[in-house]
Amino acid sequence: MAGAVNLLAQRHPINGALSLVVVMGSLAVEYLLLGAEFVAVVQVIVYAGAIMVLFVFVIMLLNAGEEERTKGSRVALLFGVPGMLLGSILIGWVLLERGGGGTVPAGALPGAPKVIGWLLFHDFLLPFEVTSILVLIAIMGAVVLASHPDTDQGKKEG
């Protein structure tokens, strides 16, 4: 939570990225508490390891600096923030009042990789394949978009 709030507070994006890493890490611990070992590990590897690294690379590439002060959107500040705050407070209040549907035992679930792998390749095979195609397309798109304009003259395909 601290990390999340810090993300908001920081002005320089690199500081924001670092606090986001903190958030990822703490989330991984939460997952472990819930007995989802595979997910926790994947969280650390993929999210904290790959995605955040990507973010940091881009920040450094673009030489992002401190945020400037420009005129923001009135609408966002006026409607969005209070709306969201109200919404989340409402949810929290409701949940606390009602008490939810039960408790969760710590570490109760066998989230072993073997089991998840079994599920992935049997019950969820189709989404798995589709997702891999999605990743492929994302790769192509990213390459094309990010390629240097000068070198595009002769290229036909990204």
Binding site: E30, V42, A146
Partner: protein, 100 residues
């Protein structure tokens, strides 16, 4: 024995922080990071429910969400790069060519 509502509240707070950051921040990369924060919050609630109901498909779904988030981050950042190249700014308020 942690009541599930705590996990859900935490997930909600994370999500709310993400939205607020999205609305407040001017740097486009910061906005992107807020998006990642939102996705994480959602992941947390998925795993919590999976644990409560002993349904492993919740965790499998988290897996998929992560993959999609990764892809989206990659493409989004590529877009940011090309926008930066043309506009020379990372300030999202200055990319308003769609204005009527």
């Amino acid at each position: 024995m942690v009541p599930i509502s705590y996990y859900l509240i935490l997930s909600g707070i994370l999500f709310a922080c993400g939205v607020t950051g999205f609305l407040i921040k001017r740097n486009i990369i910061s906005i992107f990071m807020s998006i990642e924060l939102m996705l994480n919050g959602v992941n947390l609630s998925f795993v919590a429910f999976a644990a409560q109901w002993h349904a492993l498909s919740g965790q499998v779904f988290v897996f998929f969400v992560m993959v999609v988030a990764a892809a989206e981050a990659a493409v989004g950042l590529a877009i940011i790069i090309s926008v930066y190249r043309t506009r020379e700014t990372l300030n999202v308020d200055q990319v308003d060519l769609l204005k009527l």
